[in-house]
Symmetry: C2
Subunit: 223 residues, 2 copies
């Protein structure tokens, strides 16, 4: 990692981009045109070079995605000096994380498919663990609960993102299908109303409550 940075710095080329400047260029593309525009070739065009040159910065496209995600995570508000109770701070952090993931088209789907690395992911982890421990949870509950919590918020964001892309925010197509199947699927039919009710924020708020309650009240985790 430091090795690559040194190599880049000593490069005599006409455009000695730092890894940060490289990432910034990729992030600009994301902001202006969404994730689907962030390809190595498009980025190469942006940087006025051929696609082969980008392999000086990243080993493959997944590494570009990881860089981009961590760059985006710098915008998450961790409420570092919050005087809230830990649980309230945690809810604020999760909401900010969700908001950041939904800020650009395709970012949430990317987050659901990348193992988070880097400074900002680590800072987010630290803040969330701090809250969970501050809520009085055991080391084990905090650790495993962190995993579940982030997985959950990321998955919810990815589903929002997906529906947004398909212009089907309430799952209308699905709903129509379900309505026709009263005899064979009585439970689905009976709960059709509830299944598709609620705003995004109401559901997210409840989802957070479910996961946090579960982390606190479920049996002690044991490996």
């Amino acid at each position: 990692m430091a090795e690559r940075a040194r190599r880049l710095r000593s490069r005599p080329a006409k455009e000695p981009l730092s890894l940060e400047a490289f990432t910034a260029a990729a992030f600009g593309l994301l902001e202006r045109e969404g994730m689907e525009a962030v390809t190595l070739r498009r980025l190469a065009g942006e940087l006025q070079t051929g696609p082969a040159s980008l392999y000086a910065y990243v080993h493959d496209v997944q590494e570009l995605h990881a860089l981009l995600l961590d760059r985006a995570l710098s915008a998450v508000d961790l409420h570092p000096a919050s005087t809230d109770r830990p649980r309230d701070r945690l809810e604020r952090i999760c909401s900010s994380y969700l908001e950041v993931l939904l800020r650009h088209d395709g970012l949430a789907r990317l987050a659901a498919g990348v193992l988070p690395f880097g400074e900002n992911a680590l800072a987010l982890t630290e803040a969330v663990l701090e809250c969970l421990r501050g809520m009085g949870l055991s080391r084990m509950r905090a650790a495993w609960g962190f995993d579940l919590l982030m997985l959950h918020v990321t998955a919810i964001a990815a589903e929002h993102d997906r529906r947004r892309e398909q212009n089907d925010p309430i799952g209308r197509a699905h709903r129509g299908y379900v309505e026709a199947e009263a005899e064979r699927f009585p439970q689905v039919h009976a709960l059709n109303e509830e299944l598709f009710s609620g705003t995004g924020t109401a559901r997210f708020s409840w989802a957070l409550d479910v996961v946090l309650t579960g982390i606190s009240e479920a049996r002690e985790p044991n490996n």
Copy 2:
């Protein structure tokens, strides 16, 4: 090349496959070579035709994915005549769902990116809702809880699938990085052991307990 073209040309127009037979061919490809091999072009080759012909069966590649996922879901064991308590039956169903998603490379990642349609997804929904209602949960808890539960299991499966592809089942790379950051990220450092402990099944079992406990004990959902 010209030889094959002449052979095709001299044949009468092929009778179209049923959608089922078409899906079965795609599923065979998935079984033999994993999701990454399931492309419209590969499938066209398998069916001895050009890629354009597949648009008689599906509107785009996402529809192919949806077809494939539902086909895979037919293998989920719903324990229809189970005499277990609803909660136990539900755990069995979720385990079977997880196992099916992990049976083929890339399927779980696909499931995390597709809105589930079709017969088998609906049958799974019906069974899960039946269990949740059988556990005495309100209509609203059952409906919103169903969403959360499936989202959760799917997300867990997708992460397993991803790690498996990258040959990093316990997140070794991540771990090494984290260990070096004791001063700036004390919580992460202190909980490093717990964060990476536990087998996949132990963590899945706890995750199920967390979500089910949360669904039961969290505040009543309201929209």
